[in-house]
């Protein structure tokens, strides 16, 4: 497994076996392939690059070339159990609308993103006075795809605004296993390099979207 994507393991824990999954920004389909193998999901992908789609096709995955900002509107309501947006939210033009779309087309949204409130980011800005470049955010400001960076607290504010519910949240620190956390705590905002959330619409749902503890691997 690609050691740069520890969040994959966490996503694997969150997804119920046999679920219908849409992976947005699926790249070459590594996560979808993992989910199909380990959780027998019925997986679909959305990927912006031609090269990514071609590679996913050769893996036998059903992947549509398209842009998360535009093409999510093409999916019907409740088409999926989970919509996954892994390390992509900060790259879209309209993150708020994308979050709304995720929970329109799926019962649960699994979202991971780099935390701009992490102490290294803060320290970098404080000491150097320039846009932070860290291991989690390596590209300079003028060529970064990350146009909508946020902190853990910013994200939880938005989730609350939208009336969504946080079913699970974990902190990700490079090279370490994910650690469950309470995302509203200011200390977590310092400590988490990246975060991963399972969100639901916050309404009573007949199907439990949160996996039972014994389903965790």
């Amino acid at each position: 497994m690609n050691d740069q994507r520890e969040d994959f393991l966490e996503i694997l824990k969150l997804v119920r076996p046999g679920a219908r999954v849409l992976d947005i920004g699926c790249g070459e389909g590594a996560l979808l392939e993992l989910l199909a193998r380990e959780k027998q999901v019925d997986g679909r992908g959305l990927e912006i690059s031609q090269a990514g789609v071609s590679a996913a096709l050769a893996r036998g995955l059903a992947v549509v070339q398209g842009d998360a900002d535009r093409e999510l509107a093409d999916y019907p309501d409740d088409a999926f159990d989970y919509a996954i947006l892994s390390q992509t939210l900060q790259t879209v033009r309209d993150p708020r609308s994308v979050l709304v779309e995720l929970l329109r087309i799926a019962k649960g949204a699994i979202v991971s993103f780099p935390n701009f409130g992490h102490w290294r980011v803060r320290a970098s800005l404080l000491t150097k006075g320039r846009m932070p470049t860290t291991k989690a955010l390596p590209t300079p400001w003028w060529e970064t795809p990350n146009i909508h960076l946020c902190t853990l607290l910013d994200f939880t504010d938005l989730v609350e605004d939208l009336g969504f519910r946080i079913e699970a949240a974990s902190a990700l620190i490079r090279g370490k296993p994910a650690r469950p956390m309470t995302p509203g705590r200011p200390l977590e905002n310092w400590r988490a390099e990246a975060a991963i959330f399972l969100l639901t619409r916050g309404e009573q749902s007949a199907t439990p979207i949160k996996p039972a503890p014994d389903k965790l691997i």
Partner: protein, 368 residues
């Protein structure tokens, strides 16, 4: 293959085509389980000679880059079938064929056809060949329309489907462009209300103009500009109406060479069938309903960025409807400046995608 009396082709118009014939070619061998059959559907003016040397032109088949040894569709793995469409002029029954009832060419007494009729005839052929389920049905342009029609009419007979540079319904612009071509044919005095065969003439001028107009729609503005620009045929202008510009000469050549290989009435009938094509029409305009029975078919849809005849947004509409129906669909938009004809040309990204898709679905199907 000729279908005898008593096995007519029942047409969407309500008419029947009795004692009709389908000309087809095959490559490779059908495996013992009969799971490796691939049907290729051809575009408007093409034919069953997908690969290998064309018997008339002597040129390589129209999809030699997709079908052939070592290609995505490979006679070593697949049993490949391609049939001339009903209404065509390369051996299948069409308006130039003799009407068994009169002994004279059908001409305009030939019934108007639909894409659905063409596909129904193909289904009869596939059944007659003893094949219950096709591993894949593949086509570009009008061939892609047939692929979509197969998916709605015979989903249980399909394992996978590949639709390239096509649309689920002809737009007003598509119909308008076809109408110009048809009017050019019918304005030729040699057309003789479709009875030109009896008079021993052919509406060559009209058909050539139809082809010239259509050819412009197959290429992109950029490709045309790059190939010809304002380049002249000779030094200086003629101050007349000779083909001064290279692009004029090129188009005239396209027109003149086309009339040698195509029948004018067949052009009328096939363009009409394309204009009548609207898969959603029978489902209250909801394309996704047309695809509901095809939920188990694995789809691959491909479009090209510079195709303005069947632009990417029309392929996206197909993808959206397939998604809404819950089908397994993949979609690729290939960056190309070659226009609609890109699907016939050297487009490595398309070829790689087809190879990847067919390889992976082939594994699911148990093909080696």
């Amino acid at each position: 293959m000729r279908f005898p009396d008593g096995k007519p082709l029942r047409l969407d118009s309500g008419a029947r085509l009795e004692n009709f014939q389908i000309a087809y070619k095959t490559w490779g061998e059908l495996n013992a389980d009969k799971t490796n059959a691939v049907l290729i559907c051809h575009a408007l003016t093409l034919d069953q000679y997908v690969t290998g040397k064309h018997p008339i032109s002597g040129k390589p088949g129209w999809w030699s880059r997709v079908v052939g040894p070592g290609m995505p569709v490979d006679p070593a793995r697949h049993f490949i079938i391609c049939a001339n469409v009903v209404g065509g002029c390369m051996g299948s029954t069409g308006p130039a064929s003799l009407n068994p009832a009169t002994g004279a060419p059908y001409g305009l007494s030939f019934p108007v056809l639909t894409i659905g009729d063409m596909v129904r005839a193909q289904a009869m052929l596939v059944e007659a060949l003893g094949i219950e389920t096709l591993f894949s049905v593949i086509g570009g342009s009008m061939g892609g329309m047939q692929v979509l029609q197969w998916a709605t009419d015979y989903p249980e007979r399909l394992f996978s489907a590949i639709c390239v540079a096509a649309t689920a319904r002809h737009s007003a612009q598509n119909i308008a462009l076809h109408e110009v071509g048809r009017q050019a044919i019918m304005a030729d005095p040699d057309w003789r209300a479709g009875e030109y065969a009896l008079a021993g003439v052919r509406p060559e001028k009209g058909l050539a103009v139809a082809r010239m107009g259509a050819h412009i729609t197959y290429v992109s503005e950029d490709a045309l500009q790059r190939k010809f620009g304002r380049g002249l045929q000779r030094d200086g202008l003629s101050w007349g109406f000779d083909a001064d510009f290279q692009v004029e000469s090129y188009l005239r050549h396209q027109g003149v060479s086309f009339v040698d290989r195509f029948d004018a009435n067949a052009y009328l009938y096939i363009t009409r069938a394309m204009d009548y094509f609207d898969l959603s029409a029978a489902h209250g305009g909801q394309l996704s309903k047309a695809f509901l029975p095809a939920r188990d078919v694995r789809f691959c849809v491909v479009s090209f960025t510079s195709d303005w005849l069947y632009p990417t947004r029309e392929s996206r509409e197909i993808v959206r409807a397939l998604n809404a129906a819950g089908a397994r669909v993949s979609f690729l938009e290939v960056v190309s400046d070659k226009g609609h004809d890109a699907f016939l040309l050297d487009e490595p990204e398309m070829h790689a995608a087809l190879a990847g898709f067919l390889g992976a679905t082939g594994q699911e199907r148990g093909l080696t």
